[in-house]
Amino acid sequence: MRMWKQFDTNEVYLLILLTLVYIVLFLVLRKKIFKPHITLLSLVWGFSVGIAIEFTIGGGLLDFYMLNDSNSYEVMDVLYFLLFSPFGYFFFYFYHRLKINKEKVIFYVLAWATVGVSAHWLFTQLGIITLQKGYHIALSFPIFLVIQTLSVIFYEQIKYRENIFESPIGD
């Protein structure tokens, strides 16, 4: 496992994106809406779902896209996976802040699936991922649709089972 094959623009873009996303996360975390263990769970949720999907369709037998500069595992790939973590929290955060209910949930999932596909498109433009083996960016839409729907079920289940809020309106 090496750091990177060649440190060039895609690595720089990745580091910039990572910095921006984590700055937003820390700003949002200051609201302390969820209990710390729920915050941790949301971050792990984002990370693990991302990893499970990436290692299933982005490598192995399917190998639909190349991450960074090679098909082998690099330390920079781990940084790419770390991009997913904050989105697990953002999903929970906006779900709560926008007061998503049965009427709004379809639009919420569709909006996040669009964000996901747009992010995927951006990553291809920045050279962070390179599509291969006939994979088209539109194919990411059903994947994000399933992930976001599962995220809704997941959030509703934990909210139903325990008090997840530290300060529901934010400090």
Binding site: M1, K35, P36, H37, I38, L40, L41, V44, W45, F47, S48, I51, A52, F55, T56, G59, G60, L61, S72, Y73, F154, Q157, I158, R161, E162, E166
Partner: protein, 157 residues
Amino acid sequence: MGFVFFFFVSWLVIVLFTVMKKSLSFVENIFVFLIILIVSVNWSWIIFEEFKFLELSRKPLDYTAFLINRSMGIPLIIVITLNAVKSANVNAKAYIYVGLSTVILLVLKMIGNFLNITKINNWNTLYDVLYFLSLHLIAYFSLQMVRKLKKEEVTMS
């Protein structure tokens, strides 16, 4: 055949987990499951695809069987074991559960080899034993971490 077998095993562990009496909360179970999933996915990628210590079948159904076991079977068996360990009233019982779970995971790995889903290139079964035991430890410490966070919340409020 491999696909049918591993699909059945995963179905069985899902049903067993659903019906069993759990000593971990929903959040704790999910948290431990996700942590083990992360480790399992990374570990299998590194030993199969990077170092090629083992070879993975490129037949779609065999490959799917491997994915099912990697992403569902292994993490859930660990979570089930952790629930059993936490409900054990004596330490000896807890160790037996971990031993039994390690043997089950090892047997599944051997069945994978037997069914030609995986093939050994440069590997020792002892590494698998150490890996499966480590998964139990990681699961245990993940649980401790979540419980500690919850405890601090209670103390602070």
